[in-house]
Symmetry: D2
Subunit: 474 residues, 4 copies
């Protein structure tokens, strides 16, 4: 509502007080108007009240919120539980229209607006993060893996006779399952291992293309953000190869949006080569609950093909989360989060190197990984005689409130959808020294890092002692 | 928290008042305990306060809500916008574990509990709705279409060499796209048309199996809930056929859970034949926002194959919606909703027949459709000379707040993913008389039906007049 | 906000969907405009969303919610706890200005508007409830007793040399303490007792006026709503007396607004006599949390004297509660609550008479009490030999979830602020037979009444048995 | 609720994840237990979720929240509007019992607990702020002025024949009206004026006591926190005088709790003399919405007399605000707020002195005022020729978002309840030079101070120019 056309009598509120109140509404109104008309992320974050007001207003444009509505269809977005309607700000219709995530819904002008506006804000943000050539993106209310499946499905419609996906190995289950879920045939391209760090084997990619024949290959599939000591894939080189061979190139950029170097590499890769789609997780990059991914492209037409591959109408819940988060942060808030993360990554690295030195270990040099770090567990390993018990160090940390660290040891075999992986978890087949990874992801604080090292040191000492005691017993 | 082990001194609150207060907590506590231990839907709905208390408690078991937690991973379920964390009751980790929707998450005991509990409540409800043999079900945070795609993907893993999906035609885009999204080949089996109503052509199914060879066929795919005058598919007969031919049978039961006859038919079809999966929409059956589907099976092992086909971790938002809604309704609340819907369907039918009679039309007899009704628009059609302008009647209704009615006319061609459909919308190739459909879905009120007929009559009259005026002009 | 002046591009939302959404906003907007311009209670209740939107908008007019405000005063309505600001919709400035509850606040146009609007809605409601001559009223954020004190304080300013308050005895502590709190001298006028029922002794009032001299008397002070078997005071007669003697007349109408007969009597009393102020509880009449009272008058000037007697700025929390409640109910909702209460009172009365007959007791005939009923406990009393143990019957009921019933027995002495009352609780000095009172207040349901009688019967039986067992033992 | 006695099966959640979740609940539970058993303010603030959980649990002890309750009374705390019950966390019964704010309510163990607990936390905080001898305090849901009236009323019950209140003049309306509201006779004791600053005239107090006779005097009434250039009253000296003359001493400590020097003076005054009650505003000291005050005493018996002077049951809304705020801040949070305020006061003072010097004015030296500052407006006054137009400077600031500054000029006459004040606003009768006051109250930020000086300078310049232009025109 707006007080502008309402005559509130002087006897209720003296006119000068009233005018002062009205004047104070103007910046907010201007903000609403600009957002809707220009569809750019505001420079500064909005207060919660303004965000909620706008969200409520947008929701009131959906037919389920019309007073006196008469619903004779099979889906009328009725919400029976008050707690549910409240937490969704009365949005019920989801986004998209049966069979196209980007289509407008006749019943839901509000939901449609919310979805398009959110996509526009994400695009604006991405362009400002080092991706000025990005031409479009949209939020898919499925995880990164399933969104990659969706991209693969849409590529298959373009290349119906191709069945192979050339994939630079990374040991995260969902990255791989994204291929099999689409009913496609993964071709695993091992990484190069140099001084324990892993990087993309361009030649192996090229060889596979020659061996299989480009026409049988659906796409090249790379990953930017990953656990150390694996590096971000050499997306520029792969992009060049893709362009040369006229093959689609799909990038799993799961948590890459928070790393400016990666964004710049994506832009460069497209300039010099070819990227069809790059996909990022919404929870990891926007600090919202798990459940969404953003598919982006340098080509709008390509993007629309993905939107129309989704068979149905989708949840609008993730859109709402991202919308509210972006407005709450504003451009400056997001950039500041990114900056803090980079500072904290450097801090974590310094501290980890110091820790390694004082404990006779080393931090594996993985130059193209800007988020995750690996420290060797060689001395502990030597003490145990066998790597497997080292995983207990991970449990000890976990029990003390540290989450997200991973202890990787040799000898783990795993079969996923019929494909066997040796040394699973290490992204390679001949892991020699066990290691532990830590990451500095968006939202981490220096306080957490400091606490971590205290606990790490305590656990390390305790674990070492238990090892020597065991030896003594023997 | 609980006051049980807390000594509140008499001088703060006199002991007799205190004891009375404590005693009043017992039914609630008993309710919580029973829910968690027995995992059955409570007989009666809970008040909002109890639901929120339980939800908050469950969320506090997730690591992102631990006080003093130290997050060194790439995904720590940090939520930066207070509005977002509040609306999700601080749940952030989603459900499942990378690559299996049914796996427990080490970081998220609460989210894991919530997901399993919700699935248990849905199962309990379904068993009580006429499906006592149902052995398992789970909520997938994707729309019905994509969930069917997921089922098809998991069937493909079981039958890697089969590529055809035999599908009894129904003109809803997402039903069909579910097949192409999976990269499979749809084989469209036209319906039988008798007195304008449509039903499953069992013989055509049988013929196709013989023609293509059972080994090439991934599954038979039927639909229960649909727009009149198409009837629910003859799932019992198709199930028998599936059993006989040793073929999987997938049922799209999108809004069928609200119709007790359909549940009983599903049970019977499994007893006499074979159903592998049946999928229902969570928004249509549970009155929550769009975005989820429930996949169910009479066989737990089959069900787990679907869970492990999802490539990643998924949104927990839909789970939360269904959980809160079920607790809010209780068994009695849900059954009462179902009963009211059936009463309202009968009321709508009576009124529509009366309307048809007084306007020279008829309600097409579709005996196996218990939710949607079609009224012919023959007299209007005759008056216009050409059917197409009749769609305007739909717009007139829409403009007056009536949503969900559809005007279906001959001559609409549509191509979806390379497959051409003539007379799209009518589920057949030779539609003669245009018609209008209405539905009585869960949550509809008699007041809405009454309002609808007032508006319908007004629009009909106005539209007829405009037709005669046009004629006069010509 | 309003979408009216915002150009949302067609590519975001198709124009026809957008227009439909905009059109649906109109009734709401019209509602807001009418409310603010006409200040009448809407005929029908508003949905929660509309209420919250308006409340948020009004709050945004207060200076503490201005973006970029600079607060250099000693009171800037800063709210530090987010939970607190949220629950108050960011209202912080309270109502009134230091020393006048009805004055506008320069810093708080919103709070000022909210207060005046709420008072206008209450007035509109009261006029429609049988008090067309009521000229003004306002909500005081203090209990009924303290608000009566405030009225007495303001009467004292008008009659500085009068010190006596003639008070028709009613045994509710706060009614009496309202006089002593003001530092005035209560003159207790006993009720007439006839067939156990109590009514106003007009002659005694008249006699006291003659004895003390009208000039020494501050006012006559009567009560309408009370526990049976005391009747509502004969306010028409006392009003006539007040007019005749040129004395102020103050009516404690604590829960009288919910009883239409009493409203009509107040109107009649003013027409034929004199009422200066009548005071009603906001929690009892509007079903909001305890803490407010409404002072009303047939004379606006008189009313302003009360507003300016409050020494400071007051809480706006009660205003917000009443505002939201009235908008939520609408006129029809409130009238329906009143009607249901009257029906339930009659139902309770019938049931109580039946219960009394079947247990050898009687319901005391108190014709001018339309809310509370008293049933004698004679047979139980005879059985115990002494009344005091009968209070245990009350405890038994309380223990079983029945609240609000009172067992009144002879012999209770109480001294309040130096004034001794014998048979306190019975409003008289010679109570013979103990009794129990029950009331049918606003919001009571027939279900509660039915439950009550089941429990009452059970307790009665159990209590009787325990009495006979005790006797047998002796 | 608590998961402790609930057996959640392993198949729902693996036991090790579950145990980790349970372990994380312990600090919270311990916090709840300690709070309720020790009733001390926690050292650190609690997260919102914990506060809300506790508040909900406490509310569930009130009878209106009992499942299956049967309400047969006239006041059953039914809340009809869902928005209202939600914002009050379902509290409805208020605090106290008719006629005593400190009594327990049989129907409301929860509300009773909340009130006592809140009072205990405030007491604990106050003792830690420099008032270790404070023996009790409680929150009154009325403004400071009315709470002072309540104290006066309770003193009157102790000294029924005394009628004079000796009051050290301070020009805030509600301070004065607090006396007349109680029907008592104010005796205004003018301040001493030295170098424009004002301080308590002890001799004048003493003289009045001698003149009127101690037995006619109800109490001495002083004020600690006030606008400069008036100083805080010399409460130590007045306390000594009160002790010597055996007279009650009441201190208006409206916003004094945020100033540690004042707390220490109160403590010292009691040690060397006599203070009966000291009253502080809850909004100014705890940053909650307007509407409450805290009455405190060094003597518990005296305190109870005030509690039992309130005629009725009172709002619990203010209690809830203070409770949530204190838990949210914790002891450290509150102390940090106080420290920041003192730093900002010093900063404001420095900046104001600099501003004064550069504009040819001076900051009046008021050594015993630790919150408010006055800067002379002598040069402007000289320029205008007449003081009155200088108030426009205040409006100019107000229009630009600066609130709380006051321009005080000579010649303002005001009559309050029959008592005439000359030069009202200046606390004296012979104001010579106009001045402007600013304050650094709890919650002020350095950013606000910086903004203020920018705006102040701009307005000063503009105003000076307009003056010279006006002169030129003449």
């Amino acid at each position: 509502m707006s007080f502008d056309n309402i005559n509130v009598p002087q006897k209720l509120v003296p006119d000068n007080y009233w005018q002062l109140g009205l004047a104070a509404q103007r910046p907010k109104k201007r903000g609403f108007k600009e957002l809707l008309e220009k569809r750019k992320l505001p420079a500064n974050g909005w207060p919660d009240e303004h965000i909620e007001e706008l969200v409520h207003q947008i929701a009131s444009l959906d037919s389920n919120n019309f007073p006196h509505k008469v619903g004779l269809g099979e889906r009328e977005a009725r919400i029976t539980c008050r707690l549910v309607s409240r937490r969704h700000y009365n949005f019920g219709h989801g986004i998209g229209r049966s069979g196209d995530l980007l289509e407008a819904q006749p019943k839901a002008a509000g939901s449609t607006l919310l979805a398009h506006l959110t996509n526009a804000l994400i695009l604006d943000l991405m362009q400002g993060l080092g991706l000025p050539s990005c031409r479009g993106c949209f939020l898919v209310p499925m995880c990164t893996g399933m969104t990659i499946t969706l991209c693969l499905q849409s590529l298959r419609k373009q290349r119906p006779h191709a069945k192979y996906v050339l994939w630079s190995r990374i040991d995260q289950k969902s990255c791989f399952k994204a291929i099999t879920a689409a009913g496609l045939e993964p071709v695993i391209v091992p990484c190069l291992v140099q001084h324990q760090a892993l990087s993309t084997d361009i030649n192996a990619f090229q060889q596979q293309i020659e061996d299989l024949g480009a026409e049988t290959i659906l796409c090249l599939y790379t990953t930017t953000s990953c656990f150390a000591p694996r590096n971000s894939d050499s997306i520029v080189d792969i992009a060049k190869l893709a362009k040369r061979c006229d093959l689609p190139h799909l990038v799993n950029n799961a948590y890459g949006l928070q790393i400016s170097t990666i964004s710049r590499q994506l832009e460069r890769a497209q300039r010099l080569g070819r990227i069809d789609y790059f996909v990022q997780s919404s929870d990891k990059n926007f600090l919202v609950p798990v459940g969404g991914a953003i598919v982006a492209s340098f080509n709008q037409t390509l993007l629309h093909l993905v939107g129309s591959s989704y068979a149905g109408r989708a949840s609008g819940s993730q859109t709402l989360d991202v919308f509210m988060t972006l407005l709450s942060l504003g451009r400056s808030g997001y950039h500041s989060l990114v900056q803090k993360r980079e500072d904290n990554f450097n801090y974590l690295k310094e501290q980890l190197i110091a820790f390694a030195q004082s404990h006779g270990e080393q931090v594996i040099e993985s130059r193209d990984n800007f988020i995750s770090l690996a420290i060797t567990l060689g001395t502990l390993c030597a003490a145990t005689g066998q790597g497997s018990s080292i995983t207990q160090l991970g449990s000890m940390l976990h029990m003390r409130g540290v989450s997200g660290v991973r202890v990787v040891i040799p000898g783990q075999k795993k079969t996923i959808d019929g494909h066997a992986f040796s040394d699973f978890g290490s992204h390679q087949t001949n892991l020699e020294i066990p290691y532990l990874t830590v990451a500095a992801a968006l939202g981490i604080t220096q306080e957490e890092i400091d606490k971590f090292f205290k606990i790490f040191h305590k656990c390390w000492t305790k674990f070492s002692q238990s090892l020597s005691e065991n030896k003594t017993k023997q």
